[in-house]
Assembly symmetry: C2
Homo-oligomer: 242 residues x 2
């Protein structure tokens, strides 16, 4: 065991925190301040002298991108005969905010995140603090250990034990029916209205607008009308928080 | 010079193609079939026996993700004091389809892409074949050489010589004024209408809908009303092809 590892786990004043992280991550973190940053929500962050904010939002930006790339490769290799439409849909199923929130909860992030407990209810079902922190953690691991390590971490430590990809493949998330059911439950009228069709270089683009009780919600665009509806429905589900 | 390199550059029946790629990429490609695939547009691709399509769309999916991740890191490190909103905006300026198309043209992709010349006009200003192929190429380099190599390739061979990041930072793409000007030029009425405001856990979300001649175009959502308008304007610019 190298000395720095012994120091971090047994001597350093942060040794308790290092052990918690080691249990979570499966490895001893190198640069501890990155991980502390990953779990610092903007609600308690200070604005530093140089004008930057000492919270996890920048790491979330980076981690979101790295996670998207790793998941893209996992799917690309897992499904060698599926087209990019299928891959895109599978990825969005995996990295949906609701899933990442759930994942953060499973991993015990509610104990790790520093946030303003008076202002925020982290137990709220749709609290995105947990999913945001998961992405930030990916950013921290990437900066600390590099891409290949992060890829292994995500595949071995996150996807394998926590995400059943083939199950996700089967459980088609039908956002359109989900949205229609939600509207029925809340006695709201819903309609999918075609809006301007755009003539592209080669193909015809369809645009669809979701209206709920006559109010415009999200819209979707695709070369296929059904897909445009699906996109609009998915975005509207995000908007209304279902 | 290793034997395989001598073979590829001087003896192989593909030696001419290998030299073209070497000039473009700055290195001798390993797995040539990946690069051939990257330049094969769906308009001429065959459907293989297993149902998969022999074209660049899957590589584009992967390359888009890898490119997004590399550009995220470049910006994260280049701007240590800027917040994630700035980083997100800068990235979308860099990887906008119009920019990638222009990049593909600069790099001479029009000579390399295989496509159905009868059906498609690759010179058309908005032809996305070139940008799509650029992303596919990134996917091919990644599978051939790994992440760190691809990161070097993108930063040294693409960003440094072809993309002036600081210039992009200054030339704020004001999609709202761009859109308003376009509407004036085409004698169309434009308005930005607030739609349902969503009460989140902590913050208030604003939704804005763009209407052109009374028809709903794209919408935008953000915690800040101005940003919601900006997002809606940018998406509408993409829709109408400006």
């Amino acid at each position: 065991m190298p000395l720095s590892r012994i120091y971090k786990l047994h001597i350093s004043p942060d040794r308790k925190y290092v052990k918690v992280l080691k249990n979570l991550l499966g490895f001893v973190p190198g640069n501890l301040s990155l991980y502390k940053m990953a779990f610092r929500h903007k609600s308690i962050a200070l604005v530093l002298k140089n004008g930057s904010k000492n919270n996890n939002e920048r790491l979330e930006f980076l981690g979101d991108a790295v996670l998207g790339s790793v998941v893209a490769e996992v799917l690309f290799k897992l499904y060698p005969y599926k087209d990019e439409g299928f891959l895109t849909e599978m990825r969005s199923k995996i990295v949906r905010r609701a899933n990442l929130n759930q994942l953060g909860r499973k991993l015990g992030f509610d104990e790790l995140i520093e946030f303003d407990k008076k202002a925020i209810n982290i137990s709220a079902k749709h609290s995105s603090l947990l999913g945001d922190a998961f992405e930030s953690l990916v950013g921290a691991v990437y900066l600390d250990k590099g891409y290949d390590f992060t890829k292994d971490f995500i595949t071995q430590r996150i996807i394998k034990p926590h995400i059943d990809i083939h199950q996700l493949e089967l459980t088609e998330t039908n956002f359109k029916s989900k949205l229609i059911e939600w509207c029925q439950r809340h006695s709201k009228d819903i309609s999918f209205e075609p809006i301007e069709n755009i003539e592209g270089d080669n193909d015809k683009l369809f645009s669809v607008q979701v209206l709920i009780d006559g109010e415009a919600m999200a819209s979707g665009i695709d070369y296929n009308k059904k897909n445009a509806e699906k996109i609009a429905a998915e975005k509207t589900c995000e908007m209304v928080g279902i």
